[in-house]
Amino acid sequence: MTVVIRNTDKELFTSGHRGCAGCGEMTAVRQVLMVAGPNTIVANATGCLEVASTGYPETAWAIPWIHVAFENAAAVASGVEAALKKLGKKEGVNVLAFAGDGGTFDIGLQALSGMLERGHDVKFFTFDNEAYMNTGIQNHRLLPGPSEEGEEGP
């Protein structure tokens, strides 16, 4: 006799998302949410993760999740955290922000700097795959040297 102890429908980041087969970012998100647990709100930057996980009318997120734009995940998370504090709902709730390396260090650096300086209780996760993956593997500022432009993205 077998007993199912962990089923796919208990995941906080579920199956059925449209990430590439073998995508490391999806594994990372799953693992972060395993630790963070269900009392978690995620602010997500524009990128592969957002595109692949929330194509309407489906969503792979089983926790509250918000996406606004590419460069502002840190600012959106700041607003969420401040509102929870004011409304007395912050206790026991994690506010996380997810972004790629572009959404963190290039276009997203300013918002991140502000969020860190203000000292919000937000945990910011960067998935560093060393390129702009969503648009087709272009160069970005964290690369140690110049790279060749990739082919056109989807």
């Binding site: 077998t2 102890i5 969503t59």
Partner: protein, 103 residues
């Protein structure tokens, strides 16, 4: 017809489950139940949450005696498995094999 919610909110958490990504696959992982030691590595690494862990009872010879012991087993959910092969690569006892499947 698409049901439209106010503010483009999607109030159905985890509704991606109705999108079966198993059709994306060209090779599928097959778990050798005899070899699987229930270590959960494949479960942790699967990008698609497509591995279920189940409990089972197996008979095993320990110190000359056959005993019934509990051991976890990885079961692939082929509805969602995209066939990326990470589970097979990460399995420490090579209990998962990637095989071509005819659709």
């Amino acid at each position: 017809m698409v049901k439209i919610y106010l503010g483009a909110v999607n109030p159905h958490p985890g509704s991606a489950l109705r999108y079966k990504t198993g059709t994306w696959r060209t090779m599928k992982p097959v778990v050798d139940e005899q070899k699987c030691i229930g270590c959960w590595f494949c479960y942790m690494y699967c990008p698609d949450s497509a591995i279920q862990m189940v409990k089972r009872t197996i008979k095993k010879e320990i110190g000359g005696q056959v005993k019934e012991i509990e051991r976890d087993l990885a079961v692939i959910n082929y509805d969602y498995c995209k066939g990326c092969g990470i589970c097979a690569a990460e399995c420490p006892v090579k209990a998962i094999e990637m095989v071509y499947e005819e659709k």
